[in-house]
Symmetry: D2
Subunit: 278 residues, 4 copies
């Protein structure tokens, strides 16, 4: 978590709701109206239409618009989806509507008025989080905020997976491997035995999936990690985008050039912990 | 482990080697000759041919032959494959040739003469192991000695999996679930955090795969377990046979009617432990 | 869980509350009165006094009385304490008052009238649970329903602990070892990574505590387990009674000759699971 | 791992062997002679005496001498003991003699000549590692390179332990808690389920010991951690020094003002991994 210029205009704001979720669509319309009343130029994503706001066709078009803020209404899936479609370091204010745990969320819909006021009075901070990106065979895949999951394609073959970091190589038969960011430490990596990381750390977690001889999660600086599987595998970004790699192809995972930026109104700390019930 | 009649004829013996492995094929020819010298009728699997022995076309044909013993030369994969293709409680003598850990193996190829002598002198015991079988949509799938692994098909959807046992239901989001026998406790279930079980126990292990909120392995009596996934899934028997089930279809897992029977020459006990290096 | 004679007189009943807990003492007086109204002879433990009931000085005296039933009001600690002080297979009806999780409890205080009625109508079953007992240097220690925890005495020495079972020995440096029953599988063993076991199983769990090289829990038939530590250690029964053993002394753990018997009114199954929140 | 001035005089060198270990004492004498031949002033610890070297009475006296280098011969215990007794950032060259895993060791005794040559030719780097120190009731305890282990004193009481970091508090019943450095990530914390950390990271691992409801290791920036136990507890530094704290007393754990400095001759990377057998 880095202290940045605490100054945020609300001139151009996009409002994004959870796909196909009535509650979050209703909340999005509500938030859009509040923003219009504050004289913001507001963008909504089709099929959400609000008089006075501009409706864009799809999330992908967000990349072309210069935005001051995006407000997401939904669960963590919605937030992950938006970050993947932002070109710049546009901050997101995350509102939990219909999400399960909403670990990434900052506020609930009841707190929206107060949140917009705090933002206008510069009473917030920007929480910048490390993201990762995988590349393979000359192609770079979309960035992930939580994790990149490499999973063998063939259920009857246990892949031998080689993990290279700095000058070291760890090699073992396993079903796959997860490279998670601190943000993703409470997600898929956690479900497979990984530790919980403070969100501010500049590190990555390598969590082996079903290693034949137990192998613990390894936490490393956020430098280049290379992964080579003896069998074909899928590469999954934030459980939303699936790509593939051939056997023996090197998959390179690196810190993404731009962080994900959250607008935070509350205290710093282990915010993931409380969402997990600890 | 149950004490049985310690008496085994070597009249009809099949010899099976690891598919495509030269060392184990050579060892199979060697063992076949030893058995022929002992006046056994010996069956080999094509392409293994030995003068005086009968070559059958495929493993599936073993079902039709009345056998006193099968000798496997290979790793655990070979042994698992043979057991799945035996209709009766024919015992197997497992010889580790080219296997990785060979947790199921009893002897190495150097010990074969001694082993055949011990068998002829009734100095052995039969080690009967629980097997499991899954059924779904009216079809029963081939039995598994180690485990049945139920795995979501879609990498971008976390399935909600319901596990029913006796009068209880455990329900959680996870990637899949493994139902392992004591024999399989050192296999895939172990890789995902499951306990090691004494081979003789009449129990099954339910090991959740990547549960969203950590859920430990559960050990239960070897009675019916029902599993229902909110999304389509694959059902994998001993990492060798893959079937599929639709979402919300009940997958029923039960103890298989016939155990797997091993010829054992050495002391009883936690034989899996030493193979794991403990 | 075994089906037994479903017949229980309420002629001689002891009522035991959590030591020093006002709520459970009040509940005990209440229950005692209900039993007296049903013409039972009731025993309370000092300082609890109820007109018409007999007050005995301490829990230890329960051993001398022939009882049909004991009713405990408190948490699991109270139930464990009572079982350790019962000589015979006297069943216990466990009422959760002021307990944390009350994994062993059957009912809450609101359900007492219904429970006594069900008992009188023989609508209950007896749930018999394996217990364990440790002995060392010729002395047998009090039995434990949940677990026996062997822990090095010296915090600056990592003990080498030898675990012998049947013909096998596992030896490794660790801080201690827990031998838990199925009832205890959700207790201390669980906290240290052990599996959850169905209460009815005739098995024991060996859970290593902080093994230098990771060693998983091992589940074995409820036969003799011998443990030898290279350094002095404590032997703790159900986290309530502490004994000691010298270095290299053999600690023998065995199934206790008499099970713990619970009166159960509800369905059989994985009753521990729901108490854990699954 | 930070790149520092690669320049190290061998004018004043101390040689320390494992207490009471003949092999390491013999090796120490050998190394001392090699250093004397290089015109170094050499200090040995009583009872080791070598003609031409100065023998000091105890490790504690090292603090008073201005040293360029310490050479340790023994296992990790010896290295940990020496670091605790160095006032300054004196680098240590660690030689594994008679150690078990020797995770902290750089070379074996056979490599000593080459190592001294490399040092004289400035072909080495200094590997600086975070250390931690605990304080309680106004007293600061000796620093630890690996970990500080807080353990309840009373085996029949499960302590409620409060862990405070930045603005967050995690509170749960458990037996104790370990705060480990990256160096200590392969030690006691690992044995209790903690992740493996790259040695260069500026983080600490908080590993709960036997938490009643499973709680994973948490990795945080190396800032102040406060721990409060509801029951008396021991505070153990590197499994070598034991102090105590009363119930409800705040134990403060912080990064120690001076790092431990190792002389390294080989490549950087996950050096702990290979020592663990991965």
């Amino acid at each position: 978590m880095q202290f940045l210029e605490n100054w945020l205009k609300l001139q151009n704001v996009a409002v994004v709701s959870k796909v196909g979720n009535k509650d979050s669509e209703k909340a999005a319309i509500n938030v859009t109206r509040k923003l219009l009343a504050k004289k913001s130029k507001v963008y909504t994503i089709s099929p959400i239409q609000v008089q006075g706001a501009k409706t864009i066709e799809s999330l992908e078009e967000l990349k072309k618009i210069k935005l001051d803020l995006v407000i997401t209404l939904g669960g963590d899936g919605t937030t992950l989806r938006v970050f993947r479609n932002l070109e710049n370091e546009t901050p997101i204010l995350t509102i939990n509507v219909g999400g399960n745990r909403g670990i990434l969320a900052e506020i609930t819909i009841d707190e929206i008025d107060n949140a917009l006021n705090q933002i206008q009075k510069d009473k917030f901070f920007l929480d910048k989080r490390t993201r990762v990106t995988a590349s393979c065979g000359g192609k770079e895949f979309p960035p992930a905020l939580n994790e990149i999951y490499i999973s063998r394609t063939n259920l009857t073959k246990t892949a031998e997976i080689e993990i290279k970091f700095q000058n070291d190589t760890v090699k073992q038969k396993m079903d796959g491997v997860i490279v998670a960011t601190p943000s993703g430490s409470t997600g898929h990596s956690f479900s497979l035995g990984g530790p919980i990381l403070h969100e501010s750390l500049d590190v990555l977690i390598i969590t082996p999936v079903a290693p034949v001889y137990r192998l613990e999660s390894i936490v490393v600086p956020d430098e280049k990690i290379e992964i080579i599987s003896s069998h074909d595998c899928n590469i999954v970004m934030d459980a939303q985008v699936v790509k593939s790699a051939g056997f023996e192809e090197t998959i390179t995972i690196k810190k993404y050039k731009k962080p994900a930026v959250f607008v935070r109104l509350k205290k710093r700390g282990l915010r993931q912990m409380s969402k997990l019930g600890f």
